[in-house]
Assembly symmetry: D2
């Protein structure tokens, strides 16, 4: 089992308290890494994350957005993200990935070795990293993956 | 457990030998009931059945079309269906539901108490009827259902 | 000016009286040639013809379907077409292209030298053939063509 | 004839020199007013503007984007817009609507009495304002409008 790396987060939106993967044991976690100015994220990734949130019970599946800014840092800061979340009416928790302090790839993104955005990550009920893909993921295939993880008994 | 009723079939296409649900134990079976002149079938059901066939290994998931003609019988006979299969390049096995001999609802459709077309049926590895829905089914939800059935151990 | 060839029609649906292109001078005519078992027609051509019918006033634009059966003749006869029209709730006039009597390309299709289905034909207010294309036509481009023909004064 | 109000522009992108409507007489002008964080603009308006640019010759139709920021001013400034243009690979000229200096509706937007974004404006070959609509515009209807304006002779 490869445990999913912990999230390093600078700031949270849409949640009263910070979330930690270690606190979500027992649920399937869908981590959607995006950038607000990435067209593939806006057109495919974000709407898919919203469909997942709508499809499954939150007791079963936790959808988390991760804003992994690795370019255009000056115009994708927290204030811009806040407006983006508001305009797109996003309601799932969204984390700002901790910047590396040097204008490069932020820390959680680096820990997961993500190759770009959007990247979708599935974490099982025991906290293991089970799926990670950069680019567009088909709804049917994604549903099947989530369904298989849901069928696994919590430890 | 509710065992899925056996198929009553007048004729098969796209398979050298007749299939029986009892012979498919160990696989998840997706039964797609349609009529070739039903717009919802042509626009949504058939393409979805093709996506399922493409997505999963045939050792895991068997897609079967069931032509449940309950109206316009004279123009949806086997010759018309054959042309439809050819033009739409369908490659999964397709069964002609056995007519009731009286111009009414055909026999398999009646056994399953289907309320129209398209109707999607999921049968688990042990032959139990696990899901049945008439109308459009969402890819993400359907994927999750199939994924959960795939995760169940064959007996 | 190339005058659009007259239609040779075996039977009409959705109109109390037969139509003739010569009787439609003053209108832009959109002729949509299709076969009921042609997937590109069902998925793209027919819905586009319905959008055109919905978009324009019938005093300006007349949409006519032309069922140009050149294959699978035995299963695309008038009774099958009637069921197809009913199931798809088509309301524009639809003509059955006159068979050649020999199982080949029907007569109107031959007169227009159409290369397959779907084929879209635009005829101007004076009866001239102004556009013909087999395959999928983009809505924006098609709208512009119709708009330009509408802007021409009736003679 | 209602002459289209002149553009008041703070900054241009994708053009070596500033454009003026008065300098575009003879062409049909499609003015697409948007905000980079407006979901309807990103999902519908911007792709439609790109389709228009691709469909018509630039000698006939000039597509101009107008960034009419009336909310979230601090995160939709020129630097953010520049990143947005880059990420979405937009190639048509885009003007930043002149702010009113008071955080309200920018000047060109006010001159046109636009009610929100996206707003599509069509200007004819003589510079007259011929169509304006806020919200989603159908491709077929829009094509017909452009086609009719194209059919009008330049003065």
């Amino acid at each position: 089992m490869i445990e999913a790396p912990a999230l390093e987060v600078a700031q949270w939106f849409n949640t009263p308290t910070a979330l930690a993967l270690s606190g979500l044991r027992g649920k399937v976690v869908v981590l959607h890494a995006f950038q607000m100015l990435c067209p593939g994220c806006v057109q495919h990734g974000i709407p898919q994350a919203q469909r997942i949130e709508a499809q499954f019970e939150r007791d079963d599946v936790e959808v988390i957005g991760l804003h992994t800014v690795f370019e255009h840092h000056d115009v994708m800061g927290p204030a811009a993200l806040k407006a983006f979340i508001h305009e797109n009416r996003l309601t799932f928790p969204i984390a700002v990935d901790q910047p590396d302090g040097d204008g490069g790839v932020p820390r959680t993104m680096r820990r997961y070795s993500m190759r770009g955005t959007p990247t979708l990550v599935l974490i099982d009920r025991q906290g293991a990293l089970r799926f990670q893909q950069t680019g567009q993921v088909d709804d049917l295939a994604l549903g099947a993956l989530i369904g298989q993880l849901l069928a696994e008994a919590p430890r």
